[in-house]
């Protein structure tokens, strides 16, 4: 990161402190309100019950990827006991540990890039991923459809998270912070591994690293024993039981965000700090929508290729997952 960004912007204490204060206040209000809605008014956002899976709609329990991966005994257990590992201790551990690890990355970013850049990464990535995930989740939940196009099976929605103490819309704060430190760590690794490469190459490597780490994390987190998040069936390609749109999303989000964040000092030079900050957040939200929209032609093109190759059902790699 440093090699491309030769001149980390100098601090402007008056502006930086105001920016940090106001953005923090707005974020805290949104998180507190989302948390209240999720836990105390679940009917408003139709939050699926963790204790009674028979009430699930869009998708029903029988229309989820985890259902396909379960034995009959596991299905009966989840029907009787609900989502496993959903205790207060689990949730507190998840929230507190993600806050602590995110703080470490924030300290590193502040030391190397200054308070303004570090805060733009933290809040930008938090909002970027939180909005992206929440849009997907709510779109699937309220419409029963998604970008995924089925091949030989129906699509019943997208996915949702089952565990979290604090929420940002319908995404757990632990996931937003997890995304921040994984994105920051992967972009850092890419910059160390390819110190003389340009921004795009490093962003590609950062995106690939994050996607590869997720390739292991997701099948574990969505397993019948954990069920930390739940996917609807219906994607044309499932890799280890996870729809391919998930991995595409991880790559694209980190790739795009790394480029936007590293371009921030150039925007500041041209526009000044206040305007560059506003511009950055507008572009971040626009990129969120663009990544979401990209999934539609992507899924349709992929389906077209599979149909042309003679497939009548979606691919499961490896078979049986």
């Amino acid at each position: 990161m440093e090699h491309e960004m030769k001149f980390p912007p100098p601090a402007i204490p008056g502006y930086d402190n105001k920016f940090v204060l106001w953005v923090s206040v707005i974020l805290i209000i949104v998180v507190l309100y989302s948390t209240y809605l999720h836990h105390f008014r679940p009917q408003i956002l139709r939050v699926p019950s963790n204790t009674d899976v028979s009430t699930w709609t869009n998708p029903k329990f029988e229309e989820t990827c985890v259902y396909d991966r379960m034995s009959d005994a596991e299905r009966a257990k989840v029907r009787a006991e609900g989502v496993p590992g959903n205790t207060l201790g689990d949730i507190l551990f998840l929230d507190i540990s993600s806050i602590l690890v995110a703080l470490l990355c924030f300290f590193h970013a502040r030391k190397h890039y200054g308070k303004w850049m570090a805060f733009c990464f933290l809040i930008g990535s938090f909002v970027f991923t939180g909005l992206q995930e929440s849009m997907w989740i709510l779109y699937g939940r309220f419409t029963g459809t998604s970008a995924m196009v089925g091949l030989g099976e129906q699509v019943y929605g997208t996915y949702w998270f089952t565990k979290g103490g604090l929420w940002f819309f319908e995404t757990p704060v632990s996931m937003c912070l997890g995304w921040f430190y994984v994105a920051y760590g992967c972009v850092w690794m890419a910059s160390k591994a390819l110190p003389k490469s340009g921004l795009v190459k490093r962003a590609v490597l950062g995106g690939l690293l994050a996607m590869t780490v997720d390739l292991w994390m997701d099948p574990v987190a969505t397993s019948p024993e954990l069920m930390s998040w739940v996917w609807a069936t219906g994607d044309i390609i499932r890799i280890f039981g996870i729809p391919q749109t998930n991995f595409l999303g991880w790559f694209l989000l980190i790739f795009v965000f790394a480029i936007l964040w590293e371009t921030l000092p150039l925007w500041e030079k041209r526009l000044g700090r206040a305007k560059a900050t506003g511009y950055f957040f507008i572009v971040v939200i626009a990129a969120d929508l663009a990544v979401l929209a990209f999934q539609y032609p992507w899924c349709r093109a992929l389906r077209g290729i599979l149909v042309a190759m003679g497939f009548q059902h979606g691919l499961q790699i490896p078979p049986g997952w």
Binding site: S71, H108, Y184, G185, M189, K192, V213, L215, L226
Partner: protein, 70 residues
């Protein structure tokens, strides 16, 4: 001992590596041990070996780039 002291004094430089280590080692490796009835889920981790290679390269380079005498 000297290396350990040098590492501790400059620990902030390794925080991003630590965060990936936590996600990878605790999130993926340890969690996969809880998945009792899915033989092969640990084997799945073999796919992620390139991440370990890049991780080691990054940490080694960060170590070499520490200021002399620190």
């Amino acid at each position: 001992m000297k290396s350990w002291r040098r590492f501790w004094r400059n620990r902030i430089e390794f925080y991003p590596a630590f965060s990936i280590f936590i996600w990878y080692a605790v999130g993926s490796v340890l969690s996969s041990l809880r998945v009792q009835n899915r033989p092969g889920i640990v084997t799945l981790g073999l796919i992620t070996i390139p991440v370990v290679v890049v991780f080691i390269i990054a940490v080694r380079r960060a170590w070499r780039e520490l200021p002399a005498g620190s």
